[in-house]
């Protein structure tokens, strides 16, 4: 198929960006979206032009590196997948596809379609861990039984890949789904309860400092999340936060 691409080009974080139009031809429906981008870039290199910069790495939907707002949707039109798992069979011959970086004040553009997500790093550093040192004498792994239900729920929250689609999908650019996934994982496990109060306070504080917006419960994040992280986690974080605030006051 033949396609028209409208792509955000921006030299660096300080430069002014703009949409630039490209044509790609003979695109196979079996290609992944990023392979289509590879074809575009091979063509640009051949012409001596600078290829379009975009983040990607594992290309199997788990590293969380790839992003892209495609036709206004985070990770494109398919559901439950990342951009690298999106295939061209979701598009039709002659389509125009608009490709933009994640749009959020807390994710400044580095170049073209690449954004800076280190705000997520700082949220994790504020409390996304259990404070234990490495030791060959940690208690036996089976010393604390954990119900299958709690373990499974913690696992569901822990599958977040930190891609940022939730922020990109949200009209407020809120990072509540991301932050609540980590808060929930540890809140559901006995190992995580010890520091639960401090954790939720510190992570939420950092989230606000980074300039993410507030949550207004529209649920767009849950729909666009490639890993199906549930809104329940936001509700759980709100409960944790309230309890922590009361405990602190």
């Amino acid at each position: 198929m033949n396609l028209t691409l409208k792509i955000w080009r921006q030299k660096d974080s300080k430069a002014k960006g703009q949409m630039v139009e490209y044509k790609v031809t003979d695109i196979s429906e079996h290609m992944s979206f990023l392979e289509m981008m590879d074809v575009l870039n091979e063509g640009l290199v051949a012409k001596g032009e600078e290829p379009v910069a975009f983040d990607h790495d594992c290309r199997e939907g788990i590293c969380g590196m790839c992003s892209l707002q495609i036709n206004g949707e985070a990770h494109g039109p398919d559901r439950g997948i990342t951009t690298c798992q999106l295939h061209m069979r979701m598009f039709n011959d002659g389509d125009t596809i608009v490709i933009e970086p994640w749009r959020a004040a807390a994710f400044p553009v580095i170049k073209d379609l690449i954004v800076d997500r280190t705000a997520f790093e700082r949220i994790q550093q504020a409390g996304g861990y259990i404070s234990i040192n490495t030791s060959g004498n940690t208690q036996d792994a089976n010393a604390i039984p954990i119900s299958k239900e709690a373990a499974d729920k913690a696992m569901d929250a822990a599958t977040c890949i930190g891609c940022g689609a939730c922020v990109a999908a949200c009209k407020n650019a809120s990072a509540m789904l991301f932050t609540s996934a980590k808060v929930s994982q540890f809140a559901l496990l006995p190992q995580g309860r010890v520091e639960a109060t401090e954790r939720v306070m510190n992570m939420v504080k950092q989230m606000d400092l980074e300039g993410f917006g507030n949550c207004t419960n529209t649920g767009a994040c849950e729909i666009e999340c490639p890993k199906g992280i549930s809104l329940e986690n936001i509700a759980r974080m709100n409960r944790e936060y309230l309890a922590a605030s009361l405990a602190k006051s």
Partner: protein
């Protein structure tokens, strides 16, 4: 050969590690804060090492080319992590895990290292649970285990099909705690481009800031390389797009020996290639072979019709199908080890029996399993003479519960429903057992320079067992390196800060800058990928699943010619002082073009078939094992450790003779 001292401690194998730990020198906590350590790579090995070293009090600088340590490719590991916990009470022990790993590696690993790995395996699970890793549990709230290929016990811990992700996020959380404390300086979007050696010892690295292009000097009292394997030398592999061998290759050129480069694991169950645009291959978990039956048509006409799309697999009658693994290996059937299954698929496809347009695919069929489970369910639910449709419905539900996420992943990529039509699979490069040579301390042949995880060579011999990569990465980072590096650093407490204005830093920085300048200024005609794909094709065809003298000699000559052309004709758009993915790739491919040649030389030298390395000249000539791989312990029971001498072709081979005191050497049989 004095130059290759493995430094394995004396004494019975069970006591070596304990005795070693009792006797090493330690660094006083107050002195640790005056010692700097650089860790390059933040996957399971690098991430766990960085966190643990920082907890101990050292000043750690960690480097990752991605925008976060959490993105390292360890995250993609699906199946699980082995540990000799014996929670199932099925007779597991440290010795058994040790034995299975050495045997699975076809007797080409170092006994003492593997025993230590087994010994600390249980600690890894304890540590990860304490970190909040949500491993699968049973209804009693205790940890669940499953079984993997090549072993007779259930010792694999797992977190759905995302075990690597959860373990990496555990190490990442431990790192985050240390970053917050200021004990780890994290350098995201940075790539190490050279190591700096001062007076024979590793004293720092040269790194490029991938956003600004700035070349930076970082000094330390020791340098740890944890940058993973070199599978992307094949261009197409299950590795991430950015996975590369540059750090490992740069230290090789500065004196670290490179061991067993030809030991590569080609995984049998990956989604086949469909076209030249393909950028990577996706793995389908080994667990599928528990229920899937592998076949190709028995008649060439049928194969041709399939290739041309004139026939559907479901139209081929049972008697016209060749279940070749069941035919050739009645005892193990579809569950033969990875190397055997891969070669058998290639043999059928080379003979013309491949089932897709490229002729490089075989079927993995679940229809028998669906029927078997369906009948079983009908019995359980007391349904008398169920219809075929009912059996299918009942059976499908069971298969879906076991493998649903994998089936869905397959359907997203291939656009076919694997419940109704068999999956197509083909082998793909997955893991590299070879890597930088290290001694028992995980130190390379350069003092103060360590190598851990997939990047080193030590534990998996010529073939790695499933669920052992995660175990090794975390063992090295959490429980081995933090001890062994302390012994070395105990001599560094009076050294003081390492200056970065020495001639050695000047020289290393200059060579890095010269190379970058060359790339951005070269008026070439072909893209970096053009050369990478060509290299990959040579590697796959001549250094792939099956190797012979003629092909390997051709590969050596072809890679060298390709490298010469690359340095004349490569075209890199953009500049040096900006984010430039093409420039990053150029440096990595330049190194693969050298590594590939050494790989082929090593494969040529090793005229035996062992594990993932199959030499057509070394097969059983008669008897029951006719045509199967033949290991040669008399001549090749050694580690090939190559010393760099200017050009890959000048490399000098050193041999570390392998001694097997606790395990008897046997030829593997799966008939």
């Amino acid at each position: 050969m004095a130059i290759l001292d493995s430094k394995v401690p004396e004494g019975p194998i069970k006591d070596k590690w304990t005795t070693y730990k009792d006797k090493i020198n330690l660094v006083n906590p107050a002195n640790k804060r005056h010692i700097d350590i650089i860790v390059v790579g933040t996957g399971l090995a690098g991430g766990s090492a960085a966190a643990t070293l920082a907890e101990l009090g050292y000043n750690v600088k960690a480097f990752a080319y991605q925008d976060s340590p959490r993105r390292a490719h360890s995250i993609a590991a699906q199946g699980g992590i082995n540990a000799a916990k014996n929670y199932m009470g099925d007779g597991d022990s440290n010795y058994r895990l040790f034995y299975d790993t050495v045997k699975g590696g076809d007797y080409r690993s170092r006994e003492a290292n593997v025993y230590r790995l087994a010994e600390v395996s249980g600690n890894i699970i304890d540590q990860c649970v304490a970190q909040g890793v949500p491993f699968a549990r049973d209804y009693g709230g205790l940890l669940d285990n499953r079984s993997f290929g090549g072993v007779l016990v259930s010792r694999t811990f797992y977190a759905k099909g995302q075990t690597g992700q959860q373990l990496l996020l555990g190490a990442y959380s431990a790192m985050n705690r240390q970053i917050a404390r200021g004990k780890i300086d994290m350098y995201n979007r940075h790539e190490m481009l050279d190591v700096v050696v001062v007076n024979g010892s590793a004293r720092g690295i040269i790194a490029r800031n991938l956003i600004t292009g700035e070349i930076e000097r970082h000094s330390a009292h020791a340098v740890v390389i944890a940058t993973g394997g070199y599978g992307n030398v094949y261009f197409l592999s299950t590795n991430a797009m950015g996975s590369n061998a540059t750090a490992a290759w740069k230290i090789h050129k500065k004196g670290a020996f490179f061991a067993n480069p030809c030991f590569t694991q080609i995984h049998p169950t990956c989604i086949p290639r469909t076209g030249d645009y393909q950028s990577k291959l996706t793995l389908m978990s080994e667990s599928l072979r528990n229920d899937g039956r592998i076949w190709v048509p028995a008649k060439l006409d049928d194969a041709k019709a399939l290739q041309e799309g004139r026939l559907k697999p479901t139209q081929i009658a049972e008697e016209d199908r060749d279940y070749y693994l069941e035919r050739r290996y009645p005892a193990f059937g579809n569950l033969v080890p990875r190397d055997v299954a891969s070669r058998a698929a290639k043999e059928r496809c080379d003979a013309g029996y491949g089932v897709n347009a490229t002729g490089e695919a075989v079927y993995l069929d679940f229809s028998s399993a669906i029927e078997r489970y369906g009948k079983e369910q009908a019995k359980i639910h007391n349904i008398k003479s169920p219809s075929a449709a009912k059996v299918y419905e009942l059976g499908k539900a069971i298969v879906e519960a076991k493998y649903g996420n994998l089936f869905q992943m397959y359907e997203k990529i291939v656009d076919e429903n694997p419940y109704e039509t068999p999956m197509m699979i083909y082998p793909a490069t997955h893991y590299t057992m070879g890597g930088v040579w290290v001694d028992y301390n995980l130190m390379t042949t350069v003092p103060g320079l360590y190598c851990i995880g997939e990047a080193n060579f030590s534990d998996h011999g010529a073939n790695r067992l499933g669920a052992s990569a995660l175990m090794q990465g975390l063992a090295d980072g959490y429980f081995v390196l933090p001890y062994t590096i302390g012994d070395y650093l105990s001599n560094e407490i009076r050294t003081g800060k390492i200056p970065t204005d020495s001639p050695e830093f000047d020289e290393a920085e200059k060579s890095v800058k010269d190379r970058i300048d060359f790339f951005v200024n070269n008026e070439g005609t072909n893209s970096v990928d053009y050369y990478h794909k060509k290299l990959g094709k040579i590697m796959w065809e001549k250094c792939g699943m099956s190797r012979n003298e003629k092909g390997l000699k051709e590969a050596i000559a072809e890679i060298k010619a390709l490298r010469d052309e690359f340095w004349k004709e490569v075209k890199v758009p953009g500049g040096a002082d900006e984010l430039n993915p093409e420039l990053e790739k150029a440096g990595r491919v330049a190194d693969f073009l050298e590594l590939g040649e050494l790989f082929a030389m090593d494969a040529l030298n090793r005229n035996e078939s062992c594990g993932g390395h199959f030499r057509e000249e070394s097969v059983e000539l008669d008897g029951e094992q006719k045509g199967e791989a033949k290991r040669n312990d008399t001549e090749y029971a050694y580690v090939s450790a190559w010393e760099f001498k200017g050009e890959p072709s000048d490399a000098v081979l050193h041999k570390e003779q392998l001694e097997f005191k606790d395990i008897e050497l046997k030829q593997r049989s799966y008939k």
